[in-house]
Symmetry: C2
Subunit: 269 residues, 2 copies
């Protein structure tokens, strides 16, 4: 019997589709279904299409460490992606990818890949997963509503104990949040999708009364392949200095495994 | 009157010296004075020489976001460095740098630069600086001793409330530490030196009884220019999974300003 993932085309897979034109050259079509505040394609979405092309070029499995520099805002529409194999190692392979629109470079990223199917080596967890109510008892943070121009929120489901303060016009002053996350079409989450998901929520600085945040650099470390089901997220900004701030994002699966850890440096919008 | 920094050649400046051969091409000579566990030049040291070349090529002031992928171990001796200007922006400029030894790429990094002399914009601190005794009351963690082959510890002074457990053969099981840090020759710390300093201590996983750690990827965010004097450091590893682990490093100046924040993904040695 075929699983549903073989019968259904999921939004994420359709919208990150890359067409191989030649060795190291790909074409993508960024859609308007993943737009963030400002009506521009979300950085994590643009990055995941880029990483998908690089993984194809390198015949690689799991992204392990991804660092992306966001040079210009992306726009819905055609994008050219070029890839370079930097080093093929026994355990870790590294490549570089550039995404260009209208002859201007939008994003450049370095990515190390590894096979995370067979983890070996020691594990020690010195911090706990996010504390969240069971998904069944959590509330839909958007209450089924859409946000004009912010189409990305229609691609995901967000569930938490309570809605963040900014939603009601009362930012808490604490730039942290915890919530359950999944694709709304229930696409199974693999390590490529985690690269998009660490950037899939509203900026934590909205709880400081800020209007938005634009990413300068995003580093993602993939720590394990997630088990199926909802993912538990913990997001936090500790230091805003001269407008620059970090945002730390952790994603855990329902079995209590940390699967992704990211940090971005961003600038208040 | 000239300050001492104009009269004295400091070790860090001598050992990260880069010679410009042509546009975008530099030569460096890595010394054996910054060797880490294993007798290889420390990654932060190699990275700071690379960033120095790129800053020269871009006529840039402060590194803002640095992401380095460590492809092969470096060795003391000659290195070729090539630089590329990726984007020159009004506020942020981005470039790429590669360091090659014996025709093999050792390190590739993407770097965004900005001018941090005139910070503008909002600041909010939601976490506190490290809690350390005054430097005068803190102990020298190495007690003036050297460690065979680990020459980097002769370049820095480390002071803390107490020596880490691993020093006495009794790892605490808590992979975190706080200490004061400065160059032993008291070189004033600028934003370039911070890129080296976030990698200048022993791995936090030594407190888990591990023998060492090798860096896969290191991201450094420079948050401010430090005031003169000792720097307060806080280092922590929370998650070791299949041997891979993150190490978070914060550096604060004596005035209580966060000046650098880094995370590296590393593999148990």
């Amino acid at each position: 019997m075929l699983g549903r993932e073989e019968l259904v085309s999921f939004e994420f897979d359709l919208d990150t589709l890359v067409e191989r034109l030649a060795a190291g050259r790909y074409r993508a079509r960024l859609t308007d279904r993943w737009n963030a505040l400002g009506g521009r394609p979300n950085g994590g979405y643009v990055l995941s299409a880029s990483v998908r092309a690089l993984a194809d070029a390198m015949a690689a499995t799991d992204p392990l460490a991804v660092s992306a520099f966001f040079l210009r805002p992306a726009a819905p529409g055609l994008a050219s992606i070029s890839t370079e194999v930097v080093r093929t190692g026994r355990r870790i392979s590294t490549g570089e990818v550039r995404l260009v629109q209208a002859e201007r470079e939008v994003l450049r990223a370095l990515v190390s890949f590894a096979d995370l199917s067979a983890p070996g080596g020691r594990s020690v967890l010195l911090a706990a997963p996010p504390e969240l109510p069971p998904v069944e008892d959590a509330i839909d943070l958007l209450g089924g509503r859409s946000i004009p121009d912010v189409t990305i929120v229609d691609r995901y489901d967000y569930r938490a104990a309570a809605a963040p303060g900014w939603v009601h016009g009362k930012p808490s002053g604490d730039a942290s949040m915890m919530f359950w996350l999944r694709f709304r079409d229930e696409r199974p989450v693999d390590t490529l999708a985690l690269v998009a998901m660490v950037d899939a929520a509203w900026p934590a600085v909205l709880e400081l009364g800020e209007a938005g945040s634009s990413t300068v650099e995003l580093t993602v470390h993939i720590r394990a392949r997630p088990q199926p089901g909802w993912l538990a997220c913990r997001v936090r900004t500790r230091y805003v200095i001269g407008g620059y701030h970090e945002e730390d994002f952790e994603i855990w699966d329902r079995d209590g495994h940390l699967v992704a850890q990211s940090r971005q440096l961003a600038l208040l919008a």
